[in-house]
């Protein structure tokens, strides 16, 4: 076996930030398993990161002050027009926006990488009588910051109460060699729907909404900003679409944190 470099504080940070090679990651994981004080230190770093989000994430929900918002008459638009960018515009249904730069993905891989795992995870967990979620909605803040950390994205649990669904909770899931997350919602009649998000090999791609039947369920799915989204439920296409649109609209103002960064580099 090759020589192992000693585990440093830098390694703990890189472990937390998912910046290690798989080999080094395994070494650090082993070290953590056998060194409780290092594990404790790592937990405190996590706590720091969570607390930072708790301090500053509320800014994201604030309305944008008018002086920062370009209006139709503002010089912004003139500047943009001068730069030729308005030519790229064009409004699409649901405000979807495959740009000239974003390649559309073939549907087949998405079906395998997004729809099927989402539908399967839906079936497995929505039917579990005792442990449908790993972290309940009572701990929503923790749930969201934890999943955000693990997916390297700034996630939010969309609020679907106006459509009659309340958050049950969520969980972390493995997705081949990447991470996925599931948020579960429930209606008063106990119908459950799930929002599945995962990192995938699609990088910066953006796709339109797609709909598919899988395992007896309806699935609306799309990719944006490095994350794949799937809204799954035992619902008619129209009802599910309303939910998918609500999810899309609530999350679009907040693209994934690592949206434009290479996903496959580690």
């Amino acid at each position: 076996m090759r020589h192992r470099a000693p585990i440093t504080r830098g390694d703990l940070n890189a472990y937390l930030d998912d910046e290690l090679s798989p080999e080094r990651r395994a070494e650090v994981a082993h070290y953590l398993a056998t060194h409780p004080e290092a594990e404790a230190e790592l937990a405190e770093y996590r706590r720091v990161d969570r607390a930072l989000h708790q301090l500053f994430d509320p800014v994201l929900a604030e309305p944008i002050p008018p002086q920062l918002r370009p209006s139709r008459r503002s010089p912004w638009r003139a500047a943009a027009a001068a730069a030729g960018w308005l030519l790229l515009g064009g409004s699409l249904g649901w405000g979807l926006h495959p740009t000239a730069r974003a390649p559309l993905l073939a549907e087949q891989p998405l079906s395998e990488q997004l729809v099927q795992p989402a539908a399967f995870a839906h079936t497995v967990y929505t039917t579990d009588p005792r442990h449908p979620v790993e972290v309940s909605a009572a701990d929503e803040h923790h749930l969201v910051s934890w999943l955000s950390l693990r997916l390297h994205a700034d996630l939010r649990a969309p609020d679907l109460t106006t459509l009659g669904y309340h958050l049950v909770g969520g969980r972390l899931l493995p997705a081949t060699d990447r991470m996925a997350a599931q948020f579960m919602y429930e209606r008063a009649d106990a119908t459950r729907i799930t929002l599945y998000l995962r990192r995938g090999p699609w990088q910066e791609a953006t796709t339109l909404f797609h709909f598919e039947h899988s395992q007896g369920l309806g699935v609306f799915y799309w990719v944006e900003g490095g994350l794949g989204y799937a809204v799954t439920g035992p619902l008619a296409q129209g009802d599910l679409l309303a939910l998918a649109e609500a999810v899309f609209q609530q999350l679009r103002g907040e693209p994934a944190a690592a949206a434009a960064l290479p996903v496959g580099s580690h």
């Binding site: 910046e19 708790q54 301090l55 994201l60 730069a83 701990d139």
Partner: protein, 169 residues
């Protein structure tokens, strides 16, 4: 989508970063965001289509911030981040208002260069390479500044929770 909308989408994040960078001083942070947006829109033609818009915006903001630090040696004044009404009802697993104040203080106490790295990675979720490009420093420097910054904040939080500092090897 036209580019201005793509820029507008980034405003909440730019505001969050600026707010954290400028010690919770909202007016100063929004001024920085506004400067950043104006500069960005004045230079749209310099933006390479296909490159990461957000990283480009953060780079502009970093440069403005550094200039501002140079101009104003005393640094921005300390402004208490937390309003009283925001100190109640922390959800489960969340930190208390007192702890958050301590964290804010520790963050304010960091050298600006460490604060920037920490916020880009831990708050904004950027990769090390991305932060290095934005700040114009080597990745190794990102890592060492990040380790020092997290260490400092962690000790502050541990101290707040446990009283005297625990020694952790």
């Amino acid at each position: 989508m036209e580019l201005p909308d793509r820029v507008v989408e980034q405003i909440p994040r730019l505001r969050r970063y600026a707010r954290a960078l400028l010690r919770g001083n909202t007016p100063a942070a929004d001024d920085l965001v506004q400067d950043c947006l104006e500069r960005a829109l004045g230079r749209l033609h310099f933006w390479r289509s296909g490159s990461d818009l957000r990283a480009w915006l953060f780079t502009i903001m970093h440069n403005l911030y550094v200039n501002q630090l140079r101009r104003n040696h005393s640094g921005p004044q300390f402004v208490e981040l937390l309003e009283e009404e925001s100190t109640v009802a922390a959800p489960g697993g969340a930190e208390s208002a007192t702890t958050l104040r301590e964290l804010q203080r520790a963050l304010d106490g960091l050298p600006a260069e460490q604060r920037e790295v920490l916020l880009l990675v831990a708050l904004e979720g950027l990769r090390y390479q991305e932060a290095a490009t934005i700040l114009g420093i080597p990745v190794g420097t990102v890592m060492s500044r990040l380790a020092r910054a997290r260490q400092q904040l962690r000790q502050q939080l541990a101290q707040e929770r446990d009283g005297p500092l625990r020694r952790v090897k």
